[in-house]
Amino acid sequence: MAHTLGNPQKGIIGFYKRKFLFFLILFVFVSTGFYIYRYNSYSADDAAKSQPIGAYGQEINISIEDDGNVVVDGSKVKQKVDLLNDYDELRLVVLDNSGKSYGKIRVTLNLPKNVAENTKHEFLGIHGVDGTSSKVGGVNQIIYEATNVSSQATLTVVAQLPKGTVDPPLARKMLKLLEQMKSSYWFIIAALLPLFTFLFLIALLTSEFKQQKIDIPEKEISFPPMAIPPAIVGALYTQKVGPREIAATLIDLALRGDIIIVDRERGFEFGKNKFDQRLLGFEKVLLSKIFSKNIFSGRGEIEQRINNHFYSKKISIVSSGIYTLATRLGYFKVNPQALHAKYRFVGMAAFFIAIGGFVASLLWFTDPAYIIFFWVAMMISALLISILASRMPVRTVIGQDVLSNWLAFKKYLSNPEMMPFSENNQEIFQKYLPYALVLECEAAWARRFAKHSFITPDWFLTEKVGLGLEDFCLSLFPIISYVGRSLAALKEPGFE
């Protein structure tokens, strides 16, 4: 519910969660950008000034274990031997801006095998180090020494071991293998993964559509094949419950005398009429979304009810009710909502795994981590699954037959020939209008009556005088289209 100051109806300041969330996300996004900008700094590093040097020395013992782990003075450190193409390398910072100065630092590096002679070694020192040296101290030992080390100094032990000196766990080897894969391989994988996913889904859809082929009727039929609510016809036709189904339901309710639609110069209103007990469950819920306690519900009130929520449980129930009814009538093998939810689950799970992989690659892999292109490709593939899977046909043989009849009726509705003059034309136009809407031919249906006289229906009240058919359509369609689209957009995730 919106929290307002001032008049509760008009509200001087409205607190809308959607807008709030939008600005929250924007704030987080801008803050992140600022953080990166602020801390993405590279040092134009100055040479260290001379420091007073301490007289005492320091001894450090480093051991490389068989699996590549590194132990410094008896404690295992995070750093491991890095696996490179030609050699395995240790680059270990042993002193960094310690705040203490030393006369001499001696580091003893113990290797897991007798490869000291074949190991390339170097002792790097910056920011106030007089001299560094390194030498072989034994068959498996290298000695590093630095003299006159300032308190700001950074000292790094470098040892390039022959391949095979360390034997890391398989998982680490595999990760390294992925890290060292050529960028071109990752680009190829990144291009092929979404492409194959797309082709696979298209093939699956084509195969399903072939199996569930709808016979396009040659002849048209001039009356609805059966008396079912237009929303069910729409669900059968598109396998979706969208704006058209909601709009058609509203017109159907108006035709049945349950509501009236009022066209105002600025905006519109829906009014309660007889509200009989024969309403279907989803129709009742839809009306409860539009009307509160008042008899009339205007554009402002409806917009407020829409804007107050991220999502609407009621609209989800409307959608669910239409699917369930169509499934119970035997038109679908399984509830399309449930089937599409399964695909969406797979798509969404893949998407979030890809995001996790993307972030993990940035954290764990050395730049440039080309593997992130694989995760981006997986995200695209996941979205393709979510989007295309919702088009998977699930109609039964009965559903296909019934739809075939409705398509024959659509032929009649969209026939370009003018309707012959008849005193029942006005009634026919109104009666079939909701079906024309869900079968996506309302404009063609209206054109069939273009040359006929037109009387505004009693369920549509307007201030305009002498309304023709075209004016009527231009007044009604934007209203129901707007309400249908706005309400359909409120369906909760997990509902179609």
């Binding site: 590279y42 991220f310 440039p368 995730p493």
Partner: protein, 184 residues
């Protein structure tokens, strides 16, 4: 009552759907920014005085990533990882010596393969001093010699030696704030 499996299924669909619905554009924008930042170009703030007078402290510079590793020329200003601490220290320096060359410093001048190297980006009168006894470097096929333009106040290859190509981050192309300067 739905089973725990169904409950998880529905909660994931709802929760994941809400997250995806509300944050998808933020996610896409973030992914795009990361790709641009890592593989195309980025901007960074220079911290320090070692590239004076070419680049001043706290200036904002564009760093071009693409093609850096294969197209490095003498005089280019590069961002590199410090080989002694590649995970934490990143420096900006100028390329002086290319692979295979011999670099030497003598009488305040830089010599490449025994020929004096003219450097018009260094102010008149500024000399280049070696680091103690280190006066000569023979670069291998994969090594570059980098120095800051502020020779008396730069920590560079004179101190930590030549840098391998694998430590390169990108090529600094333009100073964009608070002034505009194309780096050549």
């Amino acid at each position: 009552m739905s089973s725990p499996k169904n409950q998880f299924f529905n909660r994931f669909l709802f929760g994941g759907g809400v997250l995806l619905d509300l944050c998808k554009w933020v996610i896409f924008a973030a992914v795009l920014l990361v790709i641009v930042h890592k593989f195309w170009f980025t901007i960074f703030v220079v911290d320090g005085l070692s590239m004076e007078p070419t680049i001043h402290d706290k200036e904002l510079v564009v760093l071009k990533r693409f093609g850096t590793a294969t197209n490095v020329q003498r005089g280019d200003v590069l961002a590199v990882k410090y080989p002694g601490d590649p995970d934490h220290k990143k420096y900006i320096k100028r390329v002086i010596g290319l692979p295979g060359e011999k670099i030497s410093i003598s009488d305040g001048k830089v010599y490449i393969n025994n020929s004096i190297h003219e450097e018009n980006y260094i102010p008149f009168g500024v000399i280049t001093e070696p680091n103690g006894d280190n006066k000569e470097w023979q670069l291998s096929t994969n090594e570059y010699f980098l120095m800051g333009d502020n020779r008396p106040g730069s920590n560079d290859s004179r101190y930590f030696g030549p840098i391998e190509k694998r430590f390169f981050l990108g090529k600094a192309t333009t100073v964009i704030y608070p002034r505009f300067l194309e780096l050549k």
